[in-house]
Symmetry: C2
Subunit: 219 residues, 2 copies
């Protein structure tokens, strides 16, 4: 008698993540999952991205937080469509939350969706939302030991942005050491240095984004 062997059943989250990505693909929208510790500068990066792009790509944003709509309010104030997800205590976004928020965005009129995850260097990395790419921020004020101590997020992100480099002079952050540890965990990861406050490095970030949107359109 043959014993049935069931392989590769998707988790509920992964099934919904695939649906989200199919919806984004149908509209030609690049989905980016933005992850970091609390206060690393995720919302500031979205604000700086809107300003630096100056309309060259059509943006939308989803902001995840435990409570308040402070972040989506900041983004919407710059004139782009924004939806706030409140997790009500939950420490990460999941695919079902994103699925609930997507209908509130004008996907037919967007090139790029920036999803700001809950500020947390651990749990968000475990949940696929249906994004095409993962971008993580590490503020230099957090210390260069973070890749070694929180390896999963570094391992699964396509791009690492070292933020707040205007504060490098005042911190004991070793850029070379952080970059080397991150590259050990994830040799394919691109590392860029930026400051959302001074604007340093933002052109390279925008160029990276525009290249990824162009790639999506070619597929």
């Amino acid at each position: 008698m043959k014993v049935p062997v069931v392989e590769k059943i998707l988790s509920a989250n992964d099934r919904l993540a695939l649906e989200n990505q199919a919806l984004l693909d149908a509209h030609g929208v690049l989905g980016v999952n933005l992850m970091a510790s609390p206060g690393a500068g995720k919302t500031s990066l979205i604000e700086a991205t809107i300003d630096t792009l100056a309309g060259r790509l059509r943006l939308g944003a989803i902001d995840g937080d435990i409570a308040t709509s402070l972040d989506a309010d900041r983004v919407a104030a710059r004139g782009i469509p924004a939806v706030q997800i409140n997790t009500g205590g939950g420490c990460h976004l999941d695919a079902n939350m994103l699925k609930s928020a997507l209908p509130d965005l004008p996907l037919h009129d967007m090139d790029l969706l920036l999803v700001e995850n809950v500020g947390n260097l651990v749990c968000p990395a475990e949940f696929d939302l249906g994004e095409h790419l993962r971008v993580m921020l590490l503020s230099v004020t957090e210390g260069h030991d973070k890749p070694a101590k929180y390896p999963l997020m570094f391992r699964t992100s396509n791009l690492l942005l070292l933020n707040k480099i205007d504060l490098l002079t005042y911190c004991d952050f070793d850029v070379a050491a952080a970059t080397a540890t991150a590259r050990d965990l994830n040799p394919a990861q691109t590392v860029l240095q930026i400051s959302c406050r001074t604007g340093d490095g933002l052109d390279a970030w925008i160029a990276w984004l525009e290249a990824r949107v162009a790639e999506l359109r070619r597929t």
Copy 2:
């Protein structure tokens, strides 16, 4: 027929937390659960506490991290007993992890146990370890909106330490706003400003700790 009504059954975690606290009480050791975002300065605070106390209290430390023993190594290098817990992916400490680590410390020869939780502003607040007091750090580089966005940890901590105040000049951190929001969430919370780097404010933190150890001894 009487329907059985079962009330107030402790969760497995809460039962173990009570056991941990009983063990600490039996040795007269004050247990402090130290929580914060990644890179807010938890390990630096433990180092600065050892240096500032200069032997006036007998310390031990437990350091929680997803991976590496970097933190316990830093603490042990200053000559106090330290145990590293690796959660292997877990985003918080729980009472059972603490229970497993306590036998490795010389409790009979200690006044104070500092437990450094995993760097995370969300999940650690949900798990009682058996500590007597909760202390949280918020680095001023993280922004003054954090109490509103991550309310549970602020609501359940006895003391809020605003750390890295040497960087206040370079950040847009509003001390009065952060303090007001934290006090709204938790009127009983004490708020102190410190810099582990310059030593500013550490005397007030040490005085707070010594008063709490003295209180425990009187009970």
